[in-house]
Symmetry: C2
Subunit: 282 residues, 2 copies
């Protein structure tokens, strides 16, 4: 019974370092080592995750998640907004510590819609449009990319729609176009096509500007979003590939489970992603 | 422009494996490899995390978190409950898929309170009491352990209270007692004393039956709970030590941040812990 020790602690008060006591041989707290190869990419959120919430609610959730990069969606800031309206939204985001890293995904079915998308991105001060232009619009969209010097990342949507189901399909359509026309690789939809996200990433990494990350429960059309780590995507292997390739784009969570209450699942997903990265460094 | 391919997909319908198409050289989905050294311990929740919620609400949160082991606290099931009351609670837990892995932490200041704690544990059908018996009660508590064949894991509470501040202090008080009198090592409170959880674990692992895991933001008394991964505890190093030692007890999240809305932080913490374990296996 160590009465002496308890009396000593009582006398010296709280916060005492027990390792200083002669009766105890104990190492003091050991700091986490700084990662020798920190990730070069940034976590972000694809605005679609907040479909059921207004911008204020979405920004509160982002603060809680500790994620401060957002791809703005039209339901938070309409595509036909004036500069003044856009500035008000940007000021609100700024006061929450959140910045837009891009806008979209924006579907472009006509030249007018392509005009609007690039004008909107410019007014919002971003240099990236995540978009889905009709195939026949690609020559026109390429001109907008050049005129604005704004990059376009085309998003693949898996088996759901015929427009760019796979990253391969995007690549086949952009490979001979301006280098600023690239890919927003959605790893969940890639998985739903039965394809491997790592193989796909390695094949097209030089033209991948943004990645939509979410875990998926089945490698087929009926597969859908689950909390990061509960699905079938091998995130350790995926992040290892990203780090090895020194990927410097964004990894943006597009979370489409429990859309009326997504915060716990988004938190678990980011926790998992950060945990995987921490585990990889040991 | 791959019109042929799109037409082909339209004809064959959704869910098609693109890798089967002759125009695409692409590996199919690659399954996550089963971990060569799966964890031997179990994640659980310390009931204190749900201080502000009734049992029904707590069980809903556990289902959402996918965690099914709970240490029952008195505010969910009073210590003086009858066998019938206990059975009703156990049936409710069972219908949610949740089982109690233990009860507590229970403070024991008198012999009557020690009697009650062990009787309660027996009625609840568990073989583990997480507890904080007064030092002078240890000989009496040891008799209860022997009479009931129920293990006691004494919980360390860091610089806040004089009773068992550190795991070293627990050890000094139990080392010559029955082997079923052991430790519930709280790694957050260990950190708040400026001590290293890994060193502590390795020193006393044979008598550690339960671990309270939570991340902590400072190695001193004013340090407190933060989401797993956002604090200073080196979880990759910690879990690596647990796996190497083949620790077979529980790792029970005791989450004391945002106690009126703990679910997102608990989800992020479990996501992080699972991510670290996944990352360690690569």
């Amino acid at each position: 019974m160590s009465f002496t020790r308890r009396d000593f602690m009582k006398t010296t008060g709280a916060g005492i370092m027990v390792c200083g006591l002669p009766c105890i041989q104990q190492a003091g707290f050991i700091e986490k080592s700084e990662s020798p190869n920190k990730k070069s990419f940034q976590f972000a959120i694809a605005g679609y995750s907040f479909l059921k919430f207004n911008l204020d609610q979405s920004l509160s959730m982002m603060q809680r998640l500790g994620i401060y990069h957002l791809a703005l969606k039209d339901f938070h800031l309409p595509l036909n907004s004036s500069q003044e309206e856009i500035d008000r939204t940007l000021a609100k985001m700024n006061s929450s510590g959140v910045s837009p890293y891009g806008v979209g995904p924006i579907y472009m079915k006509t030249e007018v819609e392509a005009d609007q998308a690039f004008s909107y991105a410019k007014k919002a001060g971003v240099s990236l449009v995540i978009g889905v232009p009709n195939y026949e619009l690609l020559p026109y969209v390429e001109k907008k990319i050049k005129a604005y010097d704004i990059r376009l990342a085309i998003h693949n949507h898996g088996p759901d729609i015929q427009l760019y189901p796979s990253v391969d399909d995007i690549w086949n359509n952009i490979k001979s176009r301006d280098q600023r026309m690239g890919i927003c690789m959605d790893i969940g939809h890639t998985t739903r096509l039965g394809l491997d996200p790592v193989t796909t990433f390695l094949k097209y990494k030089d033209r991948i500007f943004d990645i939509h990350i979410w875990d998926c429960d089945k490698p087929k059309k009926k597969g859908w979003c689950v909390e990061g780590g509960r699905g079938i995507i091998d995130f350790p292997r995926f992040f290892k590939a990203l780090k090895k390739a020194d990927y410097r784009g964004t990894c943006s969570l597009e979370y489409a489970k429990d859309m009326t209450d997504p915060l716990p699942g988004m938190a678990e997903s980011f926790g998992y992603f950060n945990g995987v990265l921490a585990g990889l460094n040991v």
